[in-house]
């Protein structure tokens, strides 16, 4: 497996590779929805607010090429690396929750 040239990034810095895929619509969401085990293509589609199969398949291909997602007998699932990345997303989720509380409080005090 190798990182080819990535849109707008000739440096090959890993974080840029990540930004490139995660910066596309539904990528983060797909990784997120796979957090509790495998989902079939259609179940994943439903979980992602009915994202079009075109985009879902495109993302899934990219995610598989990067070794973050794989297709098993029970549907799509995250690889070990994907799980690892998923934990960073869980961190993001925890942060987002406290951020929302903080933001709500800000708003109440006079927006």
């Amino acid at each position: 497996m190798s990182f080819g040239p990535v849109r707008g990034s000739t440096t090959g810095r890993p974080i840029m590779v990540l930004f490139d895929i995660l910066g596309k619509r539904w990528s983060l969401r797909i990784l997120w929805e796979l957090r509790q085990g495998p989902l079939t293509f259609r179940a994943l589609r439903d979980a992602c607010d009915g994202v079009s199969p075109t985009v879902l398949n495109t993302r899934l291909k990219a995610l598989r090429d990067l070794g973050l997602v794989d297709l098993g007998p029970n549907g799509y699932l995250r690889t070990a690396d994907g799980e690892d990345l998923g934990e960073r997303l869980a961190d993001l989720d925890r942060w987002a929750n406290s951020w929302a509380e903080r933001t709500a409080t800000d708003g109440a005090t006079g927006n």
Copy 2:
């Protein structure tokens, strides 16, 4: 400040708000490039591979609405929340580096 209805997400879960903005091209990158202090609009543009001002301004507006970025006397900078989120991105960066090493090694072992 308040979260309006977000594209494709009626739940209002904070993580979805985050996915919505971060899932747009250049959002992650902008937050990332602001990690070492304020940058002017044009400096930020240069840092982001010359992203078009149209998109940069749109992202900056969204990021400001969410209270993650602010415009100070020396240019754009991350707010306290933005810095906080930035740390999660730094985690992502660290993970991406080890991931890249792992991935390179995988390729070498013939898997």
